[in-house]
Symmetry: C2
Subunit: 347 residues, 2 copies
DNA sequence: CCTGTTGCCTAAAACGTTTCAGTCAACGGC
DNA sequence: GCCGTTGACTGAAACGTTTTAGGCAACAGG
């Protein structure tokens, strides 16, 4: 720790240089206008501070003021661009509000998430944004309880199954599925199948749910063998998609819970001689950058806005205190490309 | 700030509950073995701490110990998956070393980066990882100077043009280009052109440089019109690629500085009736996830390792103090897919 | 000369830890 | 009974700020 040798400049140093007390330094630099101070003194202090390169020690400030101006963000990984962009949104909003971000990464491990949360609370963050992820969501309740006990405001992102415990912000998966199904229906499709996400996260379930609701709303029947790749199926999207096409009444279109599954299944479709969109229309989900390269119609989410809203909600909890849990759903929009076209066959 | 009302439990509270002094609480909880303390007292204190849910206030600890156990990460954005994965690598390494991460985002704006750096230094982070980005790299030196003045250890990531000022960690772009060119040469290609990144970042320059060096090493001539999309050209990759194909001696293969440029140019190639790899072999760079969906041969980087190495270097600076600047280049590897095949024509 | 008033600044406490010198009791040896 | 030693714990300072009550000089009014 060589910084010890070369101490950073403190308020005392500025005070000595300006020929005043530390109290005065603080008063001047924080521009306490209700205290009378001569312009001459102000200038002297400011000049000394500038000359010495004085940066008030935030640690000491935090201790005395009882607030750290820092919020914690606990996420499962930054490898997912969806999560990373949420973090970006949180950071931007926090910076605008003058709050810093302490980042912790659970690596999808509940125990690690526990430990990290402990560290964040030890650091006395003023609030926590908890981004749910596979692996940690099932035991999330335990950590929310801990947050409640320590009276630390929090917001959950990307999971609404714990909505009764506090605020949550999610992407509007139901709306997304409705847009996808409605788009296909407007093209004349009646036999629309669903290729699920193969996981049991809150949004995977919401997308399946949204698919069913949209079909019901449009009075379209859903055959039993039109849903594939749910939590109980293997994670082979191509095989799942091919199974869908062997249904008793084969679908003319498929809405997927994830672009990635479609991208992976595309070569198999091509090999089987099934043209897209000629023989089969496809709608993906998430609008990853490759969706445009593959010309996939897809539902675009807005992770930056999710992050911004999550921070906004957290901030209002920090300043206004608790009240009835809010559930914020961020709208999505459909990006139409050439993987969808009018139905080639009407039932 | 409602947390004020419901204060968190302090060492004093534990001390009172256990019938000892605060000093004892600290001694027990920090397991100071060189001080003699009876087992009975230890147990009483530990029990009281557990019962009250005592979490030592890190802010006070930091103040007294003069170290915050926190490093700052200053990056241009989390929207880039490359940067996000670097951050992930840093976080993982930092967590393993027991250090927290304060995240700041410059949004590609030098002024904002300045401000953010000020905040990090105010927070008394023990070191800073500075991830360079377009927009901020040109004025990076100013901030490095500031870091040097405050005697805060730092490491620069993704830029080696400031290597004289301190440590830097970069992906080995020269090696990557060498792998790409050598791969094509081994397939019999002699006329290999370069589609640049269209930016003037350190790695774009290094990739161009690596291309030239590799061609020279293999004794392959580089025509003047075989380099496109450098900093002075417009950012239309498809047009750049088509220009390459109109060269006096048209190339049979192209190595790009970025997968994305190839992905965007692909439709144009298809429209022009140029088959890949039949008429033209392509090698991309970065191995984005879409590279596999588009079957692009590409150079894969390892951002997590870049982050880990950056943190490792920073940590050794923090503990061992300064010495000769290190320049760490993280190896890359070539992922061969079907966008490259044996040359159709030998010169 | 006394009493206020005003203007400008400062002393000192406080925040919640850690650390170390020191206290105090008990005990043993002589 | 005295001295030293050991074991077990504690008092108080320290970290670098902010904040508030109050000090002090100058000056005015009576």
């Amino acid at each position: 720790m060589r910084n010890q040798g070369q101490r950073l400049v403190r308020g005392t140093d500025v005070a000595r240089a300006a020929g005043v007390s530390v109290a005065t330094v603080s008063l001047v630099l924080n521009d306490r206008r209700n205290v009378v101070l001569s312009e001459r003194t102000r200038d002297r202090v400011r000049e000394a501070a500038r000359r010495l390169g004085y940066l008030p020690n935030r640690v000491a400030q935090s201790l005395i003021q009882g607030r750290t101006r820092t919020v914690g963000v606990l996420l499962p990984s930054l490898a997912s661009s969806f999560v990373a962009r949420i973090a970006d949104g949180i950071e931007t909003a926090a910076a605008a509000a003058g709050l810093g971000l302490l980042l912790a990464n659970s690596r999808h491990d509940p125990e690690s998430e526990d430990r990290q949360l402990g560290i964040l609370l030890g650091q006395r963050v003023e609030g926590v944004v908890l981004v749910a992820g596979e692996g940690t969501v099932s035991t999330l309740g335990k950590r929310l309880e801990r947050l409640q006990q320590s009276a630390t405001p929090f917001v959950v992102v990307d999971d609404e199954t714990h909505g009764h415990r506090g605020d949550c912000v999610v992407s509007d998966d139901r709306q997304g599925m409705d847009l996808a199904v409605a788009h296909l229906a407007s093209l004349g499709h009646r036999r629309i199948a669903h290729l699920g996400a193969g996981s049991i996260t809150s949004s995977a379930l919401a997308r399946l749910d949204g698919y069913r609701a949209a079909m019901a709303r449009l009075r379209l029947r859903v055959d039993r063998d039109w849903i594939e790749g749910d939590a109980f199926r293997s994670a082979d999207p191509a095989a799942s998609l091919m199974r869908l096409l062997r249904a008793r009444r084969p679908p003319t279109a498929v809405v997927a819970a994830n672009d990635r599954h479609l991208a992976e299944a595309l070569p198999t479709l091509r090999a089987a001689g099934i043209g897209v969109p000629g023989d089969l229309s496809l709608v993906g989900y998430a609008n990853y950058d490759f969706a445009s390269y593959l010309d996939l119609t897809s539902v675009e989410q807005d992770p930056e806005v999710i992050g911004a809203k999550a921070f906004g909600q957290l901030l209002s909890r920090i300043t206004d205190g608790p009240s009835k849990p809010a559930r914020i759903r961020v709208p999505v929009r459909l990006i139409v490309r050439s993987s969808t076209q009018a139905a080639f066959f009407r039932s």
